[in-house]
């Protein structure tokens, strides 16, 4: 039986981004193993996140530099994700940025284009529970990608998962880029950014055709020709 006061302490620190060390790891476990199935904790987390949003109003608004909107418009023209997704092949990112998914179990991202695989449904709470179950399976291979993210490779399934709940944001102006590596060949899968530190990517690909996944950090809107340096150093 979980101690909800202790859980609330972790959730309060988590939404403020103030946890480190063992507390951050404990929050990671809580968010992964308990929160998706606990209405009380989901409600608390939503409410605390709402508080962090409201606290943003305490600060006086300040007009951003006039260059910011043109910069955004330029980046939207050059790197709008909607056109980029159509080029994703052979794998596809079915869902990403799982914050909404974890907390509600529905309404997560449903990227419906790419790889010729057809539309996919949103990553549901059942999907997440399935990922957790698979991760606990002794036959499942779990690789540390670094950065708080893990690659989960279940047996006998043509899919891989990238999962993390405390993944740092990429550097300003950069995005994370996911690659499938086979030998010396790198295949671009897609760009992603964590939301509130959370990442949940489902990659539909036969693991036998991929040696490993790799995450690089690349300038937003850049052409995904070849992977640069890995974003994180794996501790595995």
């Amino acid at each position: 039986m979980i101690d909800h006061d202790a859980a609330d302490e972790l959730l309060a620190g988590y939404v403020l981004g103030s946890l480190t060390g063992p507390d951050a790891e404990e929050a990671d476990r809580l968010l992964t193993e308990h929160v998706p199935d606990c209405l009380t904790c989901r409600s608390t987390l939503d409410a605390f996140r709402g508080v962090t949003g409201e606290l943003g109003l305490v600060v006086d608004p300040v007009n951003p530099p006039e260059t910011l909107l043109p910069r955004l418009q330029r980046d939207l023209n050059g790197g709008g994700h909607r056109s980029r997704l159509r080029a994703w092949s052979p794998a596809r990112i079915v869902a990403g940025a799982a914050a909404a998914v974890v907390l509600l179990g529905a309404g997560g991202l449903a990227l419906t284009q790419g790889g010729g695989s057809g539309p996919s449904g949103p990553l549901t709470q059942a999907d997440l529970a399935q990922v957790q179950t698979m991760a606990a399976n002794p036959d499942t291979q779990v690789h540390d990608l670094g950065g708080g993210a893990r690659e989960i490779e279940p047996p006998d399934r043509e899919e891989l998962y990238v999962w993390g709940t405390a993944v740092p944001s990429p550097r300003p102006g950069f995005t994370y880029r996911l690659w499938a590596i086979k030998g010396v060949v790198a295949t671009f899968i897609g760009d992603f950014v964590p939301l509130d530190g959370m990442v949940a990517l489902k990659v539909s690909v036969d693991p036998n055709t991929v040696d490993r996944l790799e995450v690089t950090e690349e300038p937003i809107g850049s052409t995904p020709s070849q992977p640069g340096q890995p974003a994180w150093t794996s501790t595995g």
């Binding site: 981004g17 305490v58 600060v59 910011l68 955004l72 418009q73 550097r171």
Partner: protein, 189 residues
């Protein structure tokens, strides 16, 4: 008024999710100044603040489905995201170098033209007043740890060391502050 504006946000978000650039521009007009003010307050650096806001809007465009109206308002979703990214940048900067340009208070950025008044909807001003009042109702000790975490991007361990109080006390005060604010803000009309 506030209800109507919330509805407008939802409609803008719906259009944004459908790829409407006009909706993006309107959401930018509504929230860029608040987001920039927050990002600058947290990061203490104009360039970093600009990057934070830029990346938050890009993330909104790239993954509009991340917002779910059942979980809260668009405003709190977006500002929460900006804050989270701001804190991430503070952590990154702390690792790289000491901050050299720190916003010590809530004053406007120095090179901003004071006459360049920020145009914002009235309901934001009303809500700002409510949130500020709620903050003042917190016991001083709770407010202190909350502000150190939220506005200065400090970790609970750093707060514990700086205030020379046990880590457990920081956690307790943080939770009490968050619960109290939650309650006060839910009560606000």
């Amino acid at each position: 008024m506030a209800v109507q504006d919330t509805a407008d946000d939802l409609e803008l978000h719906r259009r944004l999710a459908a790829g409407d650039r006009g909706a993006f521009d309107e959401l930018y007009r509504r929230y860029a100044a608040q987001a920039y003010g927050l990002a600058y307050r947290v990061t203490g650096q104009q360039m970093l603040a600009q990057d934070v806001v830029h990346d938050a809007f890009m993330a909104l465009w790239r993954a509009p489905e991340a917002f779910d109206a059942r979980r809260g308002s668009f405003r709190t979703f977006f500002l929460s995201m900006v804050h989270h990214r701001g804190v991430d940048q503070v952590r990154r900067e702390q690792r790289l170098r000491a901050r050299t340009e720190k916003a010590a208070n809530l004053d406007p950025v120095e090179d901003e033209d004071p006459a360049d008044a920020v145009a914002e909807a009235g309901y934001l001003s009303v809500r700002r007043k409510e949130v500020r009042e709620a903050l003042t109702e917190l016991p001083a000790a709770q407010r202190q740890v909350l502000e150190m975490a939220y506005f200065d991007g400090k970790t609970q361990v750093q707060i514990s060391e700086e205030l020379q109080i046990p880590l457990g006390t920081v956690k307790t005060r943080t939770l009490a502050a968050m619960r109290k604010l939650r309650s006060l803000l839910e009560e606000a009309p």
